[in-house]
Every structure is written in C-alpha cells, then in structure tokens.
C-alpha cells in the first residue's frame, strides 16, 4: 500500500532523511513519531508526492511516485486525503466550497450530491450548519475539523495527518483523536498519523515508527514501543530530555 525504500532527502547539504525504510499495509493505522524538526512533515510530504525524494523509492497504491510527473501525481493524490498541520483551508472560499472542492473539480457528482456529502462530512466532524462561514471566522480547533472533513469527503483510500492535535487544548485534541479513530473505522482507509502526542499514538496506532537522526530508529506495536528499554525511545515516550542537551 505504502512502501518507502531508502529515502534520502537533503536541505542545504544536510540530510534530514537519510535512508528511511518501511512498509504500511492496506488498512493499517500507523503513527510516525519523532522530535520536532526530525523530518516527519518532510517524510509525509514525500509520501504524498508534494516533495520529491533525492534518492530512494516511494510506492503508493502500487505506483512509483518517482516515475510520475505532477499531473500523474495529481491523480494518485485524489485517492488520498491529507490534514495539514495548520489545516491549510482556502481563505477565499467558504467552508462549503473548501470541503466540496475536490468533488466539484472531479465533476462526477451532481450538485445536490456534493451538498449532501459536504453536509454529511460536517456532521461527522461535529460542525453541522457552518457551510457558509469563511475560515477566518473559525477557531483553531474548528479549522482542523473542517480540514479533516475536506480530507475525507471523497472517501480516500489513504489518509495522512500531520500533527492533528498539536496546538489544541486537551479536550479538542481528544475529540480530534476520536474523530480520526471513527474515520479509520468508517472508511477503512489506511491511516498515517505524524504526531508527537502519545495519547494519539495510544488511541489510534496499530504500529509505530519512530524517526530519529534521519532513519526509522524503532518500529513496532505501540505496546512494544511504550515498553522499550532503548534510552532514546524511552526518553521520547516519557517526555524526558537528555541532561547533556541542557546547557545554559
């Protein structure tokens, strides 16, 4: 379903990803964890073809992304959904137009059908009746939910989430986690969540990949990761900094 082989990506000579290697099976819910700046968002963008890898191979839905041009990638991406870290709603469009964007462009559904599916998606994320609002009128949590509705309204086969709960209060974060869980169950889509929120991992993930120093440092079921004796994993999971890092 998703296969990454030896992905390398450099920025300004510095290898942010340096040989990332994994597979995510169809219908699996995987969490990619790692510290801020370790390249989680970069990896996600490579997986959905927004950013090319410098070397390595990415196969998504049976297609080698490296072999496709932007128009080919557009086709693949329409079978995926992505929730961006800051939701990335289109400012100039209403909530309704944001969520119905892809359906309208594809032109496969009638107007009434699009309206119905947008309303359904808004119901699912718990924000019925806000179709006519502009993104600027929404709170951060609401934007994320609308972003989520936009990412799933076309029933994608893979859904990517970039730090879905970061920057939200604990209650909103929990409701987003719950929504992702529901989406997983309902769409039976493959789910890839990038996060450093251990509650999200516990709630959603069947498998955890920990990114560290440009590689998959550890992977396994959440239980295994949480029980790991490795000091790097341990510190991340417990949220404890390395005393050597703290220099005043």
């Amino acid at each position: 379903m998703i296969e990454a082989r030896e992905i390398v990506r450099r920025f300004d000579g510095h290898a942010v990803l340096n040989g990332v290697d994994f597979r995510i099976a169809e219908g699996e819910a995987a969490a990619i964890i790692g510290r801020s700046g370790c390249g989680k968002s970069v990896l996600l963008r490579i997986l959905i073809g927004l950013l090319p890898a410098d070397s390595g191979r990415v196969v998504v839905l049976g297609q080698d992304l490296g072999a496709l041009d932007e128009r080919g990638l557009l086709e693949i991406r329409q079978q995926c959904g992505m929730l961006f870290q800051a939701a990335a709603l289109f400012d100039s469009l209403t909530v309704e137009e944001n969520i119905g964007f892809l359906l309208r462009r594809q032109g496969r559904c009638s107007r009434a059908e699009v309206d119905r599916r947008v309303a359904e998606a808004l119901d699912l994320v718990g924000l019925p009746g806000i179709q006519a609002k502009k993104p600027a009128e929404l709170s951060g949590g609401m934007r994320k939910r609308v972003g989520l509705a936009r990412a799933i309204v076309h029933r994608p086969r893979i859904v990517f989430y970039d730090e879905p709960t970061t920057g939200l209060d604990p209650v909103s974060a929990d409701s987003i986690d719950r929504l992702i869980e529901q989406v997983c169950a309902k769409l039976r889509a493959t789910t890839v969540v990038v996060t450093h929120d251990m509650r999200t991992v516990r709630r959603i993930a069947q498998r955890v990949l920990m990114l560290h120093e440009g590689r998959v440092y550890a992977s396994g079921a959440p239980r295994e990761i949480f029980a790991s004796a490795d000091p790097v994993v341990r510190r991340f999971v417990d949220g404890v900094s390395d005393p050597r890092e703290v220099t005043l």
Partner: protein
C-alpha cells in the same frame, strides 16, 4: 551581506529558466483547455476594478504634463498645433503602455504575489495539490490570461484619457486651435503607433503576471517571506517592463515598418 557576483548571475539565470518553464507549463495547460472561464472572468473583473483609479490618474496627468511641456517649447516657434500630435504619438506607443504597466505592476502584481505567497506559506498551495488542482491551471493561468487580456484595454484607456486631458488643456486653457491640432494629431499618429501600444500592452501583461505569480509561488517560507516576494515582484516586473520596452520598440518599429 553582499552576494558574490557569480552567485547572483547564477541565480538570475536560474530564475529566468524557471520563468520560461512556468510559461511553457501555462501554455500547455491552456492548450489542454485547463482555463476555467469563470476564474478568468473573476480575475479580469478584479484586475480591471483595481487598476481603474491608478490608470486613469496616470494617463490624465501624463497627458497634461506632456501637453503643457510640449506647448511651451513649440509655442516659441509657432508650432502650437503640433502639440497634440506629439502627445498622441508618445502616449500611444511609449508612455501609455509603459506607465500603465508600471502602475499595474504596483497595484495588481503586488496583490498577486502577496496572495499566492500567503497561500504558499500557509500550505494552501500544497493543499490545492492534494485536492487534484494543478497550481498552474488553478492559480497561474486565470491570472496570466486576465492580465494579458486586460492590459491592452487599460493601455488604450490611459492613452485615450491622456489625449483627452491634453486636448482639454491645450484647447481650453492654452489657446491652441482645436480643429488644426486635432487634424495634425490624426495625421501624425499612424496605425503603427497604436498597434505598437497594444502589442506592448499584451507583452507587459504577460511579464507582470508571470513574474508576480512566480514570485508568489516561490515565496520563501516564514513570516517575512511574503513581504519580500511582494517587493521583489514589483521591482522585477517594473525593471522587466522597462528593459522589455526598449527592445520591443526596436523590434516592433522594424517589423511594423516592414509590414506597411
């Protein structure tokens, strides 16, 4: 922090290459019928509405000052009635297109760069790409087409207003004989000048929209990125218009002379 000359030259060449590729992609998209008429109409409307005031004021006052200055010189040698002809020729082929382009670059080019730059910084362009829309089809093409279509019209408008203002000033205030001045103007303003103005309008429209959208789409990430992209869009397109104007004048003069 002064960049070494070689690096700058390299960057400039690279930017030129990227602009050419962007234009090629836009042409391909146009050929495949990716231009949404609705988006085009929307951009065209906004462009026209936004530029009205600046284009009219620029046109009128350029015409006025040109008329006054020409008259003061010509009056000494009793060539008053040639004043409007000078105004008309220089407005139609040079000042009209160039000043209109500079104003549109400042008004519309800046707005385009800021809008697309903000979209890039807030990941809206990435979102677009995940939702089946190519940024060239959805963002660049309507803006490019609208600017290319609108610029000749805005140029004509500014030339017309300039000549009108010059006529009013010359005949109304400076005491030029209206009928002679008008006849001389018609006689000396050839079709070539008008055609040249219109062609320049098209090319300048292309330059402004292409550079401004490029700057927006390539906007550096981070808070100051949008500001920088906007400033650079205006500076680059203004310079490109001025340089382009020189070469267009040389080229078009030859071409149009050859034709007529």
């Amino acid at each position: 922090m002064q960049m070494p000359m070689r690096q700058r030259f390299h960057d400039a060449l690279e930017a030129l290459g990227e602009l050419a590729m962007l234009l090629a992609e836009a042409v391909r998209a146009l050929a495949r019928g990716r231009l949404s008429v609705q988006d085009l109409a929307y951009q065209f409307y906004f462009l026209g509405a936004r530029s009205q005031a600046v284009v009219l004021i620029t046109g009128a006052f350029t015409g006025l000052v040109l008329c006054a200055q020409t008259f003061f010189q010509f009056h000494k040698v009793k060539m008053d009635t040639a004043t409007l002809a000078v105004v008309s020729v220089s407005m139609s082929s040079e000042l009209g297109p160039v000043l209109t382009a500079l104003m549109v670059a400042g008004r519309v080019g800046a707005a385009m760069a800021a809008e697309l730059g903000t979209m890039r910084v807030t990941e809206q362009i990435d979102a677009l790409r995940t939702l089946g829309a190519h940024p060239v089809d959805y963002l660049l093409l309507p803006r490019l087409a609208a600017t290319v279509l609108a610029m000749p019209l805005l140029t004509a408008e500014s030339v017309g207003i300039g000549i009108g203002a010059a006529y009013a000033l010359g005949v109304g205030l400076l005491g030029i004989d209206g009928a002679y001045a008008w006849a001389n103007m018609i006689r000396y303003t050839g079709l070539n000048e008008l055609v040249m103005g219109q062609i320049k309008g098209v090319v300048f429209g292309l330059i402004i929209a292409l550079i401004s959208c490029y700057k927006g789409l390539q906007c550096p990430l981070g808070a100051e990125g949008v500001g920088r992209a906007t400033t650079e869009a205006v500076v680059w397109s203004s310079i490109a218009v001025l340089i382009g104007n020189f070469f267009l004048t040389l080229l078009l003069t030859r071409l149009l002379e050859g034709l007529s």
